[in-house]
């Protein structure tokens, strides 16, 4: 505790960097995977190509990806961009799948009804498909969030600044407290991010709360 108080500024700095490295890939992942999923829905070949390709990329361990990417992106090995790109790849792999499931989960009758009422495809997608897909998308986002926050720390092995630095330096200095603080800080980040996402989902999908609460006290 004493160490944490003495070094809280440092820890908060690292936490800030950690958070940026974890959140950016979520945003990019979402921006890429939603159109990609919508595109993949066009036909089953496209769909299986997208799904297979993303899951193959997902198989590559992060540490290896952090090192392979600089030679493709022409970045330095220490560049945080490598981490952002690697985690974006993982996020896309998970979110494309979630988005496909989410769009599939939208009742087709509803879609037909929207078409029958005169919605144009783009408006229908934004006003019908997307909002109704939010619960499934958020489930995917929450997984991405937790996994990103854990994965970012691995980048510390290459010297990229984040809470994982507490592990590497703790190991070098044989200092358990630092490692424990790092673990706790990461868990706290994960829990806070999860809570934020849950809150955001609630704000964006007010109708799903309405339907989970039955109107009357009727029992079977």
């Amino acid at each position: 505790m004493g160490w944490f108080l003495a070094n809280s500024g440092h820890v908060f700095d690292l936490a800030g960097q950690h958070l940026v490295l974890a959140i950016l890939p979520m945003v990019f992942g979402l921006l890429i995977s939603i159109p990609l999923a919508q595109f993949a829905r066009q036909n089953s070949t496209l769909r299986s190509v997208v799904v297979t390709a993303t899951s193959l990329l997902y198989t590559i361990p992060s540490l290896a990806l952090f090192i392979i990417l600089p030679s493709i992106l022409a970045t330095r090995i220490l560049d945080p961009l490598n981490v952002v790109v690697a985690l974006t790849i993982y996020a896309v792999a998970l979110l494309v799948r979630a988005a496909l499931d989410a769009f599939d989960s939208v009742d087709d009758d509803l879609r037909q009804a929207a078409v029958a009422m005169g919605y144009k495809p783009a408006a229908r997608f934004v006003q019908i498909d997307l909002p109704l897909s939010l619960p499934v998308l958020f489930a995917g986002l929450r997984v991405v969030s937790v996994s990103n926050i854990s994965l970012v720390s691995v980048a510390a092995l290459l010297g990229i600044g984040n809470l994982g630095m507490l592990f590497t330096s703790g190991l070098q200095r044989d200092f358990v407290t630092e490692v424990v603080v790092g673990i706790i800080a990461i868990l706290v980040l994960a829990v806070v991010m999860d809570a934020v996402l849950v809150l955001l989902e609630r704000l964006l999908t007010p109708w799903s709360r309405a339907s989970t609460k039955p109107a009357g006290g009727a029992s079977a």
């Binding site: 361990p61 290896a64 590497t168 190991l171 790092g182 868990l187």
Partner: protein, 248 residues
């Protein structure tokens, strides 16, 4: 920049790199050994508990909660903590890996058993199977597809995490990454990374093939979409998402 690829290729193609006590062959064998050891211990813990929870439904909430909580635990943090507390050697990192691997295997086994159509289980019992027969003749064979999904996820995760283990002075393919980092030998790092990526993909493909070859064609028939399973763990990414979240 242009010669990084040729250098890496040269490094990979160099027969010298493949033989000897720190050659690729030995590192690969080490990597697979650690992976096998972790999987063995983790399975011995996770499978019986998963079968029990799946069959009886008891402790379901606890399993989901524990798997969820462990998902947020940073691999690297746990690894360093174990090494600092228990010292350098083979077993401390192995135990850390076991702790990280039990949840996906447990959740996969549990999900496998509980994914089996309740009507099939009901019918098995109605025909006069004992509880053990219900488990091993109805639930396990039909849940195997989902279970092996959890297993694949677990193995991939261990292969990934074992690369990190080299950081604390153990062998495995991860050595090339850290040795290369210290020496600023980028071709060696890239070569090592490509080997790790190749290993992960190869193992996953082999497991997928096994899954296709050895599971009963009846049980591996397209799942009935009219009755959606809660999760499709047959697919590694979804399984990963549900069970753990993230390689290391």
């Amino acid at each position: 920049m242009s010669n990084i690829f040729t250098d890496t290729f040269a490094w990979l193609a160099d027969p010298q790199q493949w033989s000897g006590s720190s050659g690729i062959a030995v590192r690969l064998a080490e990597h697979l050994q650690y992976t096998a050891l972790v999987m063995l211990i983790a399975s011995a813990i996770a499978v019986p508990i998963g079968l029990y929870v799946g069959h009886t439904g008891r402790g379901r909430v606890a399993v989901v909660a524990v798997a969820g909580a462990l998902r947020a635990l940073p691999t690297l943090g746990l690894l360093t903590l174990f090494v600092l507390l228990a010292g350098i050697g083979l077993m401390p990192p192995v135990w850390a890996l076991v702790i990280l691997t039990v949840p996906p295997l447990l959740a996969g086994t549990y999900a496998g058993v509980s994914s089996v159509d309740r009507n099939v289980v009901d019918a098995a019992r109605a025909m006069g199977m004992t509880e053990l027969q219900v488990l091993f003749r109805a639930e396990v064979p039909n849940g195997l597809q989902v279970m092996s999904g959890g297993f694949r996820t677990g193995i991939l995760q261990v292969i990934a995490t074992v690369s990190v283990v080299a950081y604390i002075n153990l062998g495995g393919l991860g050595r090339y990454l850290f040795d290369g980092l210290v020496l600023s030998d980028f071709p060696q790092m890239l070569g090592g990374s490509l080997l790790i990526a190749g290993l992960a993909i190869a193992v996953d493909l082999i497991l997928a093939l096994f899954q296709r070859l050895f599971l009963s064609p009846g049980a591996s028939a397209k799942p009935d979409r009219s009755q959606p399973a809660a999760v499709d763990l047959t697919d590694p990414v979804t399984a990963e998402a549900v069970v753990q979240g993230g390689t290391s």
